[in-house]
């Protein structure tokens, strides 16, 4: 079932800022879409509007062909997993999972069968008789997943369901949610502030900030082709190297003047960039886009290695060149030593340019 958000606006009476600011979004049928953004950016509010727990101040929401903007939550046929709530404390695991079915007035036998199936799917079959005090946090979160899916909802909404779990369990549950999505093929909206979670889960990612959608795209697009400075800095750890520069004509090529170092702009962008007047820009490259090369390489920048941090199989190297500090990620086997002189080469295809004033990408392909 596809979900369409149309010019959605929400402002809480108790707060001055706009929580959700003119959001337009189409979520395809059977898609697993992830809302990613810093805390307070409006992810939960958007989700609550889809569920019907908040009424939008403007705009419309469609589930399938149905306008549900003014439909009560219980009639929307969506399921939601909450950030800070997992199990009804007054019920056993079994009763918890059966609870949504009782609202549908199904027969006892049918309920029993569906509950057992759902419990099986999330792996809590052995716990059905337990109460809330006798299950762990991870198990309780599984129960809430089972409760969400037992009604076979057309749309799944999950608001940071894993944020309260420890790291190992989180990764494990992540896989299970992915599997669940593949098995049920229902539309799933997953909210997180954890970009790794977003990257691994999402068919597409919606990056949000301050109530506005910043970019919608596949994990690949969001990572390699950020639409603006916000997405570029928010996605990816360690963050993108960013420096102030000016676009200038140098001989017959267009270059970014990085205060001393002239970085040629790749051929394919030249057409779109106008350099009649020098334009101030932000020049960016991810740490993965930088390589160490020999001093003989003409297209290189000289620097000195300041700090080396191991990331396991790879290492993060900070290189100083003039007043700039570059972070570079290279293989752990690559020999580097603190204090050593080195030369950096920037992969042309991984260079980003952003307008200095509004942060919009000048090099985005999409």
């Amino acid at each position: 079932m596809k979900v369409v958000l149309q010019d959605l606006v929400k402002k809480y009476p108790a707060s001055d800022s706009i929580a959700v600011n003119h959001v337009d979004l189409t979520i395809a049928d059977s898609e697993l879409i992830v809302f990613l953004g810093p805390s307070g950016c409006g992810k939960t509010t958007t989700m609550r509007m889809i569920a019907g727990l908040e009424t939008p101040d403007g705009g419309k929401i469609f589930i399938g062909e149905r306008d549900v903007t003014y439909v009560a939550p219980k009639d929307r046929r969506v399921a939601m997993v909450f950030q800070n709530f997992s199990m009804y404390p007054s019920m056993t695991v079994y009763e918890n999972i059966a609870f949504p079915l009782q609202a549908l007035k199904r027969s006892k036998a049918e309920i029993d069968q569906l509950v057992r199936e759902a419990a099986e799917l999330v792996g809590v079959s052995a716990l059905l008789k337990r109460g809330v005090r006798q299950v762990s946090g991870g198990e309780a979160q599984r129960v809430s997943l089972a409760r969400a899916m037992v009604r076979r909802p057309e749309v799944f909404l999950m608001d940071e369901p894993l944020s309260s779990l420890d790291a190992k369990l989180r990764v494990q549950m992540r896989t299970e949610i992915k599997r669940l999505h593949q098995e049920t093929r229902s539309t799933m909206v997953f909210v997180t502030h954890d970009q790794e979670e977003a990257m691994t889960l999402g068919d597409r990612i919606v990056v949000m900030s301050q109530g506005k959608v910043q970019q919608v795209g596949t994990p690949h697009e969001v990572f390699f082709d950020p639409y603006n400075l916000f997405v570029a800095t928010f996605v990816g750890t360690p963050g993108m190297n960013l420096f102030d520069g000016v676009i200038q004509q140098s001989g017959d090529t267009l270059c970014v003047d990085l205060q001393g170092y002239m970085q040629p702009i790749p051929e394919r962008f030249r057409a779109t960039l106008n350099a009649k007047t020098p334009t101030p820009v932000k020049w960016g490259i991810r740490p993965e886009g930088i390589r160490f090369v020999d001093a003989t390489d003409p297209n290189s920048l000289a620097g000195q290695i300041e700090i080396i941090e191991s990331l396991g199989s790879r290492q993060l190297v900070f290189v100083r060149s003039g007043d700039k500090l570059f972070s570079v990620i290279v293989d752990s086997l690559h020999p580097v030593r603190q204090g050593e002189n080195c030369h950096l080469h920037f992969d042309e295809t991984r260079i980003h340019l952003f307008e200095a004033q509004n942060g919009r990408s000048l090099t985005q392909r999409g």
Partner: protein, 312 residues
């Protein structure tokens, strides 16, 4: 992918403007559905009487006359010129000061003491809160009997240690002391309950680090316990103060204001004015003044309390 994303609206099902409006309205005002019944009831059983009583104090009203002439401030002037009123006010203030601080010290002290022991805590709690559950009137009658000069247990105790039997509740020197002691006996459990709960909810960490740093018990109490409990202490004091201010039952059955009006509280005075002396509107004026005074005090304490809670 570029922004903004243009979405084609699926064909919307038609909804009447009214339904949309109604949905918005009911969502925005849902709290009133829950609050309204209580609010209406409050208007009927509290606000209406208060307004009525205030209004009453500007007329001359008594049981034996149907006429109710408007007299403006006559009742207020009368009350403020009545030396019994000022006597009752003085008694009440003394009563509030003594019983509130007394019940607070005893209740808080016992709650602190309970932390020091481990065996039998629940039973001790239960015995300690017993007086609170007993009707003030029963408490008053029971202690009347305890203090009876002929066969009261208190006198027998004093005879045992060689003191002459006394008419405790009939002497101006002892009556108000006895009544206030009994009031403390009745109400320290409320403070005890609140402070006991407050103490149980305290975090452990500050205490452990203070112990490690070698702080004395007294320092821990004044520097950690008291500041953390400020809001709770305020609630306890607030409750006790307003209750003490309107004390009636205990005094009424123990001394009925005597001897020589040394135990006459405001409530008792107003009761007498209205029902013994048939001056309803004068009592109304007195009640209005009392209401204003209590509002000011409780408002003041409330402010203080909210500031505390915000500060936490």
């Amino acid at each position: 992918m570029a922004l903004p994303i243009k979405t084609q609206p699926p064909s919307a099902t038609r909804q009447s403007q009214f339904r949309i409006w109604f949905y918005h309205w009911s969502q925005k005002n849902i709290h009133w559905f829950f609050i309204a019944p209580a609010l209406i009831a409050i208007l009927v059983v509290a606000i209406y009487p208060i307004v009525y009583s205030t209004g009453l104090s500007f007329f001359r009203v008594s049981f034996d006359s149907r006429e109710r002439p408007f007299v403006l401030f006559e009742n207020f002037i009368w009350i403020l010129n009545d030396k019994d009123y000022w006597g009752a006010l003085g008694n009440t203030l003394l009563y509030v000061a003594v019983t509130v601080s007394g019940s607070f010290v005893v209740g808080f002290g016992l709650a602190l003491l309970l932390r020091r022991i481990s065996v039998g805590r629940n039973w001790i709690r239960l015995v300690l809160i017993l007086p609170l559950t007993i009707a003030p009137i029963v408490v008053g009658l029971t202690w009347n009997w305890m203090f009876d000069p002929l066969f009261g247990l208190v006198n027998w105790f004093f005879i045992g240690i060689g003191v002459q039997p006394q008419t405790w509740l009939a002497q101006t020197g002892t009556a108000r002391i006895v009544v206030m002691l009994v009031d403390i006996w009745q109400w320290y459990p409320l403070v005890f309950l609140i402070m006991d709960a407050g103490l149980s909810s305290l975090p452990k960490a500050p205490y452990e680090s203070a112990r490690l740093e070698g702080a004395s018990d007294w320092m821990i109490f004044t520097r950690i316990t008291l500041p953390l409990l400020r809001a709770v202490i305020l609630v306890a004091l607030l409750l006790r103060t307003v209750d003490a201010f309107r004390t009636f039952d205990l005094v009424r059955v123990m001394t009925d204001g005597g001897p020589a009006q040394t135990t006459e509280t405001l409530s008792l005075y107003l009761y007498r004015t209205a029902f013994n002396f048939n001056k309803l509107s004068r009592a109304g004026a007195g009640a209005t003044i009392m209401l204003i005074v209590i509002s000011i005090i409780s408002n003041f304490m409330f402010r203080f309390l909210y500031r505390e809670q915000e500060g936490r």
